[in-house]
Amino acid sequence: MRPDDQDDKFGSGVAGAIGLHVVLAGVFVAVAMFAHTSSAHWGENASSVGAIQASMVSAIPLPQKFKPVEKSVLAPDQASPAPVPPPKEAVAPPPRPTDILIKNKNLPKKVGPVETPAPPKHPQPTPPTAKAQTGQSADQLPQSTTQMKNGTATATVQDRTFGNRYAYYVQQVSQKVAQNWYTYEVDPKTSQGKRTTIVFDIERDGSPANVRLLTSSGSPTLDTSAMRALQRVDGFGPLPAGNQITVEYTFDYKQQ
């Protein structure tokens, strides 16, 4: 056998192996380069992400800050102090095994089971708590709107508790003033959507007092007609509770 024959075979084998490796390496590179462009990957900015996504924002969307409501328990100006932990009760040391226990002669008398009082038949209205309920009614004021042919009249009572408890009274005030508002007194040239706001107190006996203009509409005739509406009212009927309430009344003029 010639040694040359063996050499030739060795050379072609090596070349084949090298070629195979180059092809394999090329395949890996190609897969690495092109395969990931076709499908989404972890951490990418896709619409549905598998895990954590971080994006740059200009501000953090904190819950909106509301103005503290007057006479409200929650939302105070100052933070309330942290509650003090309850004081530890003094516990008597456990009796030693050598002690002889003496019977206490002054044991409290046994009392029969206390009957639970029957619930009142009349449904008791829950007392008004000035607590703000979550996410609602913090800025909701009791008000009553009366639609008229020639405008809208809205009464707002500043005492929220009164307005909720005696909604019918507020409704009545609204209606009575609306009835006494003569829109023909308003200059017809007054432009659409002018509004004037009047503030007045209602005394204990139901008579309006202290009538004053809060926001002028810019139309003197509309302001006067609103003031006159109040002057025509002798009384709204005695207040169901309290000595005085303050009412804000908005007259919305609208042309026919």
Binding site: P125, T146, N164, A167, Y168, G235, F236
Partner: protein, 469 residues
């Protein structure tokens, strides 16, 4: 305020439809150069159906009120309960400020106490009540006891408006009185502080044989009873502001004289008489003065005296008859009356000392004025086209003092005369002769806008006068 929230949504719908209509008008007119996008959208949406027209809520709506049938606690209270229910419903319907829920629409279960009340049932269709009056009635210890409740059906959190107990001896008349009281309490709470009139009375003239006597009745025509038994012609009764005296004019041996009848004593009391014809007394609102027409000096003039007829003084002095005075009940410082100084009788007003005479009507034949309790209006009978062959007839009119503008309240129901205001200023009672014959006169009542007319008495009654409270 759930209920109000509900109400608001209804109103919002109304408002929105109004807005659409308005926007439509704006688009049609093309007068505004700048239209917001929203308005344009609304306008185009509305233009799709070009024919509709929206008119919303003219004036303030009346409260929708349901009156439940009361629950009878004891079987012997059943007849009283029926009287009570009927009276309460009639009173509230007649008040003129409620949109009453028909009895056929109310839920079948009659709640007797707030515990049995299911407000959702009443506030939803078909009743759709905003307010519910309910309660129970029974006989306890020989007394008729009614417990009345008024609930605001829209206020789920605090429904109760008031609760009150009414008591009296067990008879039918008392059952009606209790219902009147409960109705008055409801009207007072919901009517803007104006007391109800369910307990007021009407005094009138009743033909008894050849004589005319003064009679009285409840405001709804019930309980008609005689007051005087004089056997004379007695006319124009006027009750005093404190409901204790009735002044009227009676034809005796000395002609027409003013007479004073005490309702407390049940007999005539002294009133000084002088010569001449004395007619049409009228009480001042303080009850201390009486105005009337007297011809003691020859010409009928308006005189004012105290309730005993003393210290009489004349306040008009002009040739021609001056009759039928009526005081301004609000101020007590003005008198309206009928004067014939220019020919046909016309309506005039003046200050109570006789100064500041102002003529109110411009023609026709005006009679029997009555000043409204709030002082703003005068009701009177007027034949605007008086004369032979003239069209129309005598009808009831109401005139606003400040502007002298008037409206006609009766049309084509025959001759009407003698209007008299109710103490709440919402009703007017008057005499009506359907065929024009005096003997067929009857007493009718209506709301002050002329609606809701109904007769209270049969023929032979005349000259009604509504009590002051």
């Amino acid at each position: 305020m759930n209920g109000t929230a509900k109400g608001m949504t209804e109103r919002d719908i109304v408002k929105r439809s109004e807005r659409v209509a308005k926007a439509k008008r704006v688009v049609m007119r093309m007068c505004l150069p700048l239209l917001s996008l929203m308005v344009v959208v609304a306008g185009t949406a509305a233009r799709a159906q070009d024919t509709f027209h929206l008119e919303t809520s003219s004036g303030a709506q009346s409260i929708r009120l349901a009156a439940a049938n009361f629950k009878s606690n004891t079987p012997d209270a059943l007849p009283f309960k029926n009287t009570f229910d009927a009276t309460l419903f009639a009173d509230l319907s007649a008040a003129g400020i409620f949109d009453m829920v028909s009895k056929s629409l109310i839920p079948q279960a009659a709640p007797g106490t707030p515990g049995e009340m299911n407000l959702a049932q009443w506030s939803s269709a078909p009743a759709s009540a905003a307010m519910v009056a309910f309660g129970n009635i029974g006989v306890q210890n020989g007394n008729l006891v009614a417990n009345g409740f008024l609930d605001d059906a829209k206020n789920t959190q605090y429904p109760q408006v008031f609760a009150k107990q009414y008591m009296g001896p067990p008879n039918d008349d008392v059952a009606r009185q209790l219902a009147h009281k409960f109705a008055d309490d409801i009207i007072f709470r919901l009517g803007g502080g104006v007391p109800g009139i369910a307990e007021s009375k009407i005094y009138y003239v009743k033909r008894v044989g050849g004589a005319k006597e003064i009679w009285g009745m409840d405001y709804d025509g019930a309980n008609q009873h005689a007051i005087t038994h004089l056997g004379q012609i007695s006319i124009s009764p006027r009750v005093s502001p404190d409901n204790s005296l009735i002044a009227f004019s009676s034809l005796g041996n000395n002609g027409f004289q003013i007479k004073m009848f005490s309702l407390l004593l049940g007999r005539l009391i002294h009133f000084s008489n002088v010569g001449g014809t004395n007619l049409s007394p009228a009480w001042a609102p303080n009850g201390q003065e009486l105005a009337f027409s007297s011809s003691r000096t020859g010409d009928p003039e308006i005189w004012v005296s105290d309730p005993q007829g003393e210290m009489a003084r004349r306040i008009t002095s002009y040739k021609g008859p001056d009759v039928s005075p009526t005081w301004n009940p609000k101020t007590g410082s003005q008198i309206g009356w009928i004067s014939g100084r220019t020919g046909l009788p016309q309506l005039y007003i003046m200050d109570s000392d006789g100064s500041g005479v102002t003529r109110m009507t411009d023609g026709g034949y005006a009679t029997s004025p009555s000043w409204s309790p709030n002082g703003q209006f005068i009701a009177f009978a007027w034949n605007r086209k008086y004369g032979p062959g003239a069209p129309g007839g005598q009808d009831i009119y109401v005139m606003e003092i400040a502007s002298k503008r008037w409206i006609q309240l009766t049309h084509d129901i025959g001759r009407c005369d003698f209007p008299s205001w109710s103490p709440d200023g919402r009703h007017i009672v008057f005499a009506n002769a359907p065929d024009g014959m005096d003997s067929h006169n009857r007493i009718m009542t209506m709301l002050a806008d002329g609606t809701g007319k109904r007769a209270l008495t049969g023929p032979g009654t005349d000259m009604p006068n509504w009590s002051w409270k």
